[in-house]
Symmetry: D3
Subunit: 331 residues, 6 copies
Amino acid sequence: MKIEILGSPLPNIPFEERPANCSDVMWRYSKNPIISRHQVRGGNSIFNSAVVPFKDGFAGVFRIDDQGLAMTLHAGFSSDGITWDIREEAIQFKNLYGDCGKYTGGYDPRVVFIEDRYYIVWCNCHNGSTVALGYTFDFQEFFQLPNAFPPFNRNGVLFPEKINGHYALLNRPSDNWHTPYGNIFYAESPDLKFWGMHREVMKTVQGSWQECKIGAGPIPIKTSEGWLLFYHGVVERCNGFVYSFGAALLDLNEPWKVIARGRQYLLSPQMPYECVGDVQNVTFPCAALCDAQTGRIAVYYGCADTVTGLAFCRADEVIDFIRRDSVPYCK
Amino acid sequence: MKIEILGSPLPNIPFEERPANCSDVMWRYSKNPIISRHQVRGGNSIFNSAVVPFKDGFAGVFRIDDQGLAMTLHAGFSSDGITWDIREEAIQFKNLYGDCGKYTGGYDPRVVFIEDRYYIVWCNCHNGSTVALGYTFDFQEFFQLPNAFPPFNRNGVLFPEKINGHYALLNRPSDNWHTPYGNIFYAESPDLKFWGMHREVMKTVQGSWQECKIGAGPIPIKTSEGWLLFYHGVVERCNGFVYSFGAALLDLNEPWKVIARGRQYLLSPQMPYECVGDVQNVTFPCAALCDAQTGRIAVYYGCADTVTGLAFCRADEVIDFIRRDSVPYCK
Amino acid sequence: MKIEILGSPLPNIPFEERPANCSDVMWRYSKNPIISRHQVRGGNSIFNSAVVPFKDGFAGVFRIDDQGLAMTLHAGFSSDGITWDIREEAIQFKNLYGDCGKYTGGYDPRVVFIEDRYYIVWCNCHNGSTVALGYTFDFQEFFQLPNAFPPFNRNGVLFPEKINGHYALLNRPSDNWHTPYGNIFYAESPDLKFWGMHREVMKTVQGSWQECKIGAGPIPIKTSEGWLLFYHGVVERCNGFVYSFGAALLDLNEPWKVIARGRQYLLSPQMPYECVGDVQNVTFPCAALCDAQTGRIAVYYGCADTVTGLAFCRADEVIDFIRRDSVPYCK
Amino acid sequence: MKIEILGSPLPNIPFEERPANCSDVMWRYSKNPIISRHQVRGGNSIFNSAVVPFKDGFAGVFRIDDQGLAMTLHAGFSSDGITWDIREEAIQFKNLYGDCGKYTGGYDPRVVFIEDRYYIVWCNCHNGSTVALGYTFDFQEFFQLPNAFPPFNRNGVLFPEKINGHYALLNRPSDNWHTPYGNIFYAESPDLKFWGMHREVMKTVQGSWQECKIGAGPIPIKTSEGWLLFYHGVVERCNGFVYSFGAALLDLNEPWKVIARGRQYLLSPQMPYECVGDVQNVTFPCAALCDAQTGRIAVYYGCADTVTGLAFCRADEVIDFIRRDSVPYCK
Amino acid sequence: MKIEILGSPLPNIPFEERPANCSDVMWRYSKNPIISRHQVRGGNSIFNSAVVPFKDGFAGVFRIDDQGLAMTLHAGFSSDGITWDIREEAIQFKNLYGDCGKYTGGYDPRVVFIEDRYYIVWCNCHNGSTVALGYTFDFQEFFQLPNAFPPFNRNGVLFPEKINGHYALLNRPSDNWHTPYGNIFYAESPDLKFWGMHREVMKTVQGSWQECKIGAGPIPIKTSEGWLLFYHGVVERCNGFVYSFGAALLDLNEPWKVIARGRQYLLSPQMPYECVGDVQNVTFPCAALCDAQTGRIAVYYGCADTVTGLAFCRADEVIDFIRRDSVPYCK
Amino acid sequence: MKIEILGSPLPNIPFEERPANCSDVMWRYSKNPIISRHQVRGGNSIFNSAVVPFKDGFAGVFRIDDQGLAMTLHAGFSSDGITWDIREEAIQFKNLYGDCGKYTGGYDPRVVFIEDRYYIVWCNCHNGSTVALGYTFDFQEFFQLPNAFPPFNRNGVLFPEKINGHYALLNRPSDNWHTPYGNIFYAESPDLKFWGMHREVMKTVQGSWQECKIGAGPIPIKTSEGWLLFYHGVVERCNGFVYSFGAALLDLNEPWKVIARGRQYLLSPQMPYECVGDVQNVTFPCAALCDAQTGRIAVYYGCADTVTGLAFCRADEVIDFIRRDSVPYCK
């Protein structure tokens, strides 16, 4: 039976075919990085950012660290998904719940359309990093919901539809610093204000590229085989962390159950712009665009915490890949 | 105007008057510790435990570390609050929500009666320490609710009534080890399953006994002046942590607002059974019994992570004490 | 079938019967500690020491830290195993193999009689701590063999007879400091000079008193059920390490196979002389005397790295104890 | 030739003869501790304090940590050196040099009379711990001089007279926390405002009680053999630091040259009040009274960072002791 | 009013105009690095070095780490400030004050002309890193003064003239290793031998490129607006420290008072020779040449602890830049 | 007298003459790296590998980390020593001694021909990293011997002939992680099963490129002057470890005695492929081919834990180099 993405066709996503002599499941865009560190005036770096289809083209929420290293979120727009017009002014969230969620700088956003609006989930720094939520209808005006959890938590990723009637959120418990541990959890909410039903989804895997900590990446992609989740994994080598990313397949109805999980990474830091920068050896995916008709997927990922890259794959090949060489004990 | 505890008279709580030559606001029971480390067969230690009025006397949930250092919770009963009959068999929770809250050992319970039943909040070890909840009607049969948060979180303490229509829970974010930081947060829930509206209540105070981390202790006591909260504070001295405890006064309607907070501790590890044991220099309060008629309060506290002690005070004197010498910047 | 110690009767070992109201498998000598820190002039502490039957009474090798904290080994003699005459002058080893084993201070000795002489195994500090070996015929003159391993290794313990024709040595890999990890290994030697056939015997057990590191204690005792091994286990609590000890049963012919291993400790630091001293919360067994006729065993253990204590048990009861509540996955 | 203290007779210093069965060079006062933790109202502990002869009796500057753990200095007076009347109000220094030395809490004072006034040297917390200086004529009014060094420095100890025309100050470089290293240095000043000519006096000694860090204690005592310096030494044991103290002899004219330095400590934490308290295992000398006529010396030392003890010795015996067993390489 | 450098014209400093499409306040020399790691035979790296106008051209003191990684200082000469003739033999200082300042390898020199000679300030390794001083008249013969402070201190930078009659020295307290903290202090001296009047000048700024530690860079430049100070700031990212640099304006008469301080960096490691080398991600300025007539400034900075780069700016633009976006709380 | 390699001519080793303008003792191959990270399908990196002359050409054992970061060993063959045919299937060792040496992944192999077969020594991960041994006759079939030591030990390197009738093995004690210390030791064995006679050969050298840890590299080369040993040394710089390598000369008959040891490195990470990769700044030699007739040597070394490089030198020049500038205190 054919492996299919369950969703809308999106023929205009950025895509390049696999290079001739390449047999990798995932390959990089030939003109990477697509967003340079200085693309926005006053910026030190633009990375770990999220995009979605919007109108005829695409919109996104971008993490910019300015030249004082303050972290802010910025809206951006693109017709082809490659050339981006990113706003110089940071997003100002209209805070709907007072002390329960103040925007005081944010990082690592994810964006997803659910029902009638675009939800943004990011890591907020108010009283300790935790998962913040907000929404917009138009990428002009933004509203902030209460934080999902008490600190410390990062890498909050919403599913693109309700699961069993509840909003569903992947997340990764952490600490007040460069967390040296961490597994992926699942939480539910009836209303995006109150969260519960916490379950552990995946643990780290000893002796591997995902040994130290893992975190959900782009919004999960619905396929005929389950939710396709790209996620980053971290290993601590002799001279520091290395952030690679791979993929897993989660049950469609009980997404806290792992069907398959790739033992191998899909992409690791190997190019100069991934290995050299403010933080060496980081490839960190935060968004994916996919075309249900062809199975083509474009993954946006931060490189060395400095610039933004693009990589491509096909849903069926990725699912084959993680099924063929799966982590023996997935959960 | 008179400072009063708002609640029921409870004339039979354990109490001793302040010794003749003592001017401290809080004083120890003369026959401390009231529960020895070996009181229950096979036990290594009994400490950080919680008691409530129950029928004609008192009931409680006790933390016992057995001689393999497995941590379990045990029901206990007492007619005078001093001599306790603690069950040798550990509590078995009937798990109502599957993976969302499994009991795999627990520690540092708190117990409170709300509406029609006794709720137990403790620290659960399933997939990382976090705040677990359960309830009982009779201290015979126990039921487990979902965990309140993803890990890591400790020192969950429920308010004894709903605040603005929601259950209210103090808690302390932590990490996967002997957390070296931590402030007290506040969360709300409409149903004890989903939690949100997280607010920070109190931060640590540099250069003090509460410099390193703080955590709520007994169930807050409702008074005419606000919620009286006993809480522990930790300072890291040259040879390790020292756990003392003090008190604060929280706004009755918005308990995340601090009205007063004692700059000085009420009790610190000074007696041999508080300074010597499995963990040196720990006094850790988990429960209080109070008599609204007289303002008398009896605080149960763990000593050196080994035994259980009892200390006494009067509500009005404690509130005077923390108002007289309050942390300048409370929040 | 009766559980028996396989060996000689030794009716004159020190022993006290279990106190009336005590149900513990192991109990302390009523006049502990038997050796005070100042018993030898210029000494700061005497602990972690080893004794054997010798002539009509007993002899031993004692660790003394002097008042400069230099660590030296000293011979001692006793007629009753309780009152010890310990030599003020440190043992001088006649070095038989030059650079391969120099005595530059030593600690934590074990002593065992094999065939025709008394072997001493200790931790040597020459170019990094490792397992040193030596022997004496008379406790007057001592000879030093080559170190068994390159650094870092501690807690070397010889079996009292050859196993399958080879000398057999338990040991614990470590590092150059207060090692925060460590499992017990087994090595063989045809000649006490060359060692090999390294096998892992026991790992640490998470969430227990033996979570952090473990190390063999007294010379294993041959019984009808297998080798009875007392060993120390360490857990890191909030304010430091706690050293307790328990027991395991090893296969008689393949001692690297664990038959049973107590989930609970036999003795943990609970008395003031075990909890307070140069290093808090340490009970560290290094020697045992046993009477095959009665099954009585006397264990010598260091207390708080300061003084030496004595505890008693019976072989059959200990073996019952560790079989009744054994670590599920022993190896 | 007779070893003599060069100074005034001071027959009324507190002193007890060596107990009958004791052969130690230094022995404790039989009624230790002389100052309890609660002697001053609101105090958590009184320790690491300094005394000098004053009028007919003695005066001192005492470190008190209050029950919020704020550190303050307090004047005290005594007629016998044992019973102390310590002022409840903290010393307020009149700051003579603005930002160059602000009193914001202080600890570990030393006091010395030079020429016409009493100088106090302590550890100040303003912008990082460093050596602060002040003076008084009457222990009623106190004046503050500029800090001697930029942070981080502790254990500043003035010589009781100028050396080669300059004030001379021992000191110990440190860091912003519980420093895990540190040697003793010497500095000079023409005017107590500007300091220079820094020389290293003593390093730590590996494998000993003074392995980790050392710091000058009481004001050096002038003797016929050189300056007699009591100083603390620290070793890091398995469960934390142990603070003992010993002595060294410095050249009279070039005090940065060490003539002899005891390999053994004179006193280490062995009594309950030294081993148990806010910081376990600390004996920390800050002052000495001596009678030149008889050579008797009384040393005041902090115990477990909680209370204050007194110990006694004779100058000639101490000098013999450190000469007999001296650290081979003293500098 | 015009912003001016107060000083002499120096038309021959190296300078390139800002590239056409660049709007940065500071820009790099187009042929960076100007000094390669192997320029001097036997050298591993040449960086963190200082230059001054000298005769018709320029002279300097250069840090060279040889291929054994021994650190030495070397004189160098240049006619254009870009091509340098660096002496292969290390500078030998004539030690004027014995033990108070011995040259045993040095690093990170600064050079300044005051009155009649060139002063060199560097970090000396004798008995712990601290600020060493010396002088030369001709860059042939060098003399060493006493160290300014006891260890540990780094980044000593002299003002180019006396302030209120005293020599003035910026400095940065540190520790015995890769210090993870540190603010800039100010000290005075009447004679360059004795130092005092220590004041804190600037603290680190949380959540910024200067979050972890800061240290003065080149000799401060006197301007009509105050002392213009370039200084490095360090942030600890996920994979290590990043050393950038920015600028501040200090009061002319009370230079410990900060008038303005840039929230943003002027230059951060972004070029391959700044990001890759012995220490990744380091830009570390140690010298500046400036032309008072035109306001042009050339900054010499170490790159990745491996090579030396050059960057340019204009005094008025820098001062505008730091005034426009200044750290809110400067001190 | 002429310095000579004692051995066979090997004219076909890969070699390039020193470049014209280069005066270094060791120089890199102009087309480095010779083995790319992706040369073998599914591989993440190929480095730290060993080669030997084999038949007409060369054979080797290669460390490959696959794209899951599992570490495996692979046989490879080459006619010119530069272009390698590496087997995609990992080596499967026939385990001859059960639990005493199981292959569960391995790294950093060395290969040497002794008497009749090729021995492989590598680092095995079974129950903690330690030195594993095996052999092959044909690089098709491999047999595994018992591990040489209990964990933790790395960098085991066999001498190419017996010394005084015993096999001889250099090794480096380590710990269970990225060991931050370590000296080189020497062990002997009569039979490659039992090891003993441990001696320390070389310590680290403070303030140098070999300050932190050192480890033997290729099989020692027999010369007229002694055993020529290339070894890596590690220094911890501000942003991590730097692995360089140098050489030493060991006594022919007592190889634990150091005759000369270079103070300077021969090669340090300076090329992009050495500085950038999975682990920055690593050059790690594991093999050398040498031609006794000409003294030419080709060294194979891992680069950045990612690829494999080749460097050249001449035996006589290296020996001159390390004699001319030798570490003063070699042992």
